[in-house]
């Protein structure tokens, strides 16, 4: 068996049945993923905010965007772009597909998933 961690691979992040506005988490080891549905589309992202690492899974959706609960950064779920600061770097989105009623995300190579550097709130 090849080591599945050595190559990007698809993982199951839960059922694709909840309505728009759903924001939940999925964990794979130290990876914390946000799983969100907005405007009929599922999105999966590295849940640690690119500003100061607050888990965006503690935040909430505002139409097609996710709001950080700490400093109120707002990220577009479709593109990852920052709609409101203080974050500067975009949300790290993962490729997503829906297979047989389940949401799947493709994990990045180990070590690259959470590569942001931590910034203090200055």
């Amino acid at each position: 068996m090849p080591d599945e961690r050595a190559t990007p691979h698809w993982v199951d992040v839960g059922p694709a049945v909840e309505p728009d506005g759903t924001l939940r988490e999925a964990r794979f080891g130290e990876l914390l993923l946000g799983v969100a549905r907005a405007e009929g589309v599922w999105h999966v992202f590295d849940a640690f905010c690119t500003h100061a690492e607050c888990p965006l899974t503690d935040g909430w959706l505002e139409e097609g965007a996710v709001r950080c609960p700490c400093h109120a950064s707002l990220f577009d779920l479709a593109t990852g772009s920052v709609l409101a600061g203080p974050a500067l770097e975009p949300l790290r989105l993962l490729p997503v597909r829906v297979v047989a009623g389940r949401v799947e995300a493709r994990l990045p190579l180990p070590g690259r998933a959470t590569g942001s550097r931590f910034r203090t709130n200055s």
């Binding site: 640690f48 607050c54 709001r67 609960p69 700490c70 400093h71 109120a72 203090t120 709130n121 200055s122």
Partner: protein, 396 residues
């Protein structure tokens, strides 16, 4: 009566008993207003609180005189800005990063909560502040800091003693006596601990701070001790206090049954609403660097400000006409309980995770949780506010 006149008559006792009606009147009539009893200009509206706390070039942290300096025994992270503050944050933040907290905190906190709940589950009644929330708070942080060898009661005494000094804006000699003695005891107790952790570093917050501090060991210790006392106070007192306020809010407002039916699903919302409703730390103190106008008031250079995050969290223009109510269903938006700007609370995620675990397990473990009707909770404090006691009953 003019704003200046009625604000002149506000007493510390009135603030301690219930500051919220005073803040509400200020938001309406005099949103930035000098309060002689505590020597601070109170900043009460959300918009002004966010502005003042986020602009250190206009309002810095160097409040003079500050009860913090004497209480902490020197310059702590709370009273410096710019590069000195960034250096202290860089020492403190690595062990409190949300990514680190997510990976390590649950396994540190769960056994503490389980043991405490084991101790009371069969009784059918308890006083939750002293028997659950404060012990979880001090023991949890004690382990993270590297003070796991100290008794919970010692740590609780320490944060209480430091809190007396940190809120002594009125310069009360009896209060100084308490906090001076506490500070001396902490210095005496922690000196050897710091020396040991410098020689044998582990993953604790204190070891991390020592590794990042500059200079010889005695310089490192002198740099770290005041900030360590800030952490001992804020980190040990506040998560326990906020957990108590949250549960009191749930029980008083009749929303506890909803949480009891789905503790895992609703605990996050409950904690955030609890932090908004009774913010455990009421102010970020600031000093005007230059003459300025804020909330209709003209502030002179050197004016000391009490920037009231607790009042911002009740601002009707932000939270609507039900701002004073605890409401689990409140539409989500960012609250001010952890502050704004460069001094945003370093321990925010540690506090959140700890509170969530304590409250979730409480509702899972103690069915039919309700207030003891003969001993309702009594809240007290303006700078630090929480229930003095929280007597509850359940079906044992």
């Amino acid at each position: 009566m003019s704003a200046a006149t009625w604000a002149d008559e506000i007493t510390v006792e009135e603030l301690e008993a219930d500051p919220y009606p005073i803040y509400a009147r200020m938001r309406r009539e005099a949103p930035v207003c000098f309060v002689p009893a505590v020597g601070l200009w109170f900043v009460t509206r959300w918009v002004d609180v966010e502005h003042a706390a986020s602009h250190p070039e206009l309002y810095d942290s160097r409040v003079t005189p500050s009860p913090l300096d004497r209480t902490m025994g020197g310059e702590s992270i709370l009273v410096v800005d710019g590069e000195p503050q960034r250096r202290l944050r860089a020492m403190l933040d690595p062990s409190l990063r949300p990514r680190v907290v997510e990976a390590t905190t649950p396994e540190q906190i769960e056994p503490i909560v389980r043991d405490l709940l084991d101790g009371i589950a069969d009784r059918g009644e308890a006083e939750l502040m002293s028997e659950l929330f404060e012990p979880v708070s001090v023991l949890g942080l004690g382990r993270v800091l590297g003070l796991g060898h100290l008794e919970g009661d010692t740590l609780r005494r320490w944060f209480r003693g430091l809190a007396v000094g940190a809120t002594n804006f009125e310069d009360d000699a009896a209060k100084w006596a308490v906090s001076d003695a506490t500070g001396a005891e902490i210095d005496c107790e922690l000196g050897p601990v710091l020396e040991r952790l410098a020689a044998e570093p582990d993953g604790s917050t204190i070891a991390t701070m020592l590794r990042h501090a500059e200079g010889e060991l005695d310089e490192k210790i002198a740099t770290i001790l005041p900030t360590l006392k800030v952490i001992l106070l804020g980190g040990m007192q506040e998560p326990g206090h906020a957990a108590g306020s949250t549960v009191a809010g749930l029980l008083e407002s009749g929303q506890a049954e909803a949480v009891a039916a789905d503790p895992a699903g609703l605990v996050k919302d409950a904690v955030e609403e609890g932090l908004r409703w009774i913010s455990p730390i009421g102010t970020q103190t600031r000093r005007s660097v230059r003459e300025s106008e804020l909330g209709g008031a003209r502030l002179p250079v050197g004016a000391n400000l009490g920037v009231l995050v607790s009042s911002a969290n009740r601002d009707e223009t932000v939270w609507g006409p039900t701002a004073d109510a605890f409401d689990l269903q409140r539409p989500k938006r960012n609250h001010a309980a952890f502050g704004f700007g460069p001094h945003f609370c370093s321990g925010h995620h540690f506090a959140r995770v700890q509170m969530r675990i304590a409250i979730q397990r409480l509702f899972e473990r103690l069915p039919g949780l309700r207030l003891d009707p003969e001993r309702p909770p009594v809240f007290r404090g303006w700078e630090f506010r929480a229930p003095l006691h929280l007597h509850v009953r359940w079906h044992a």
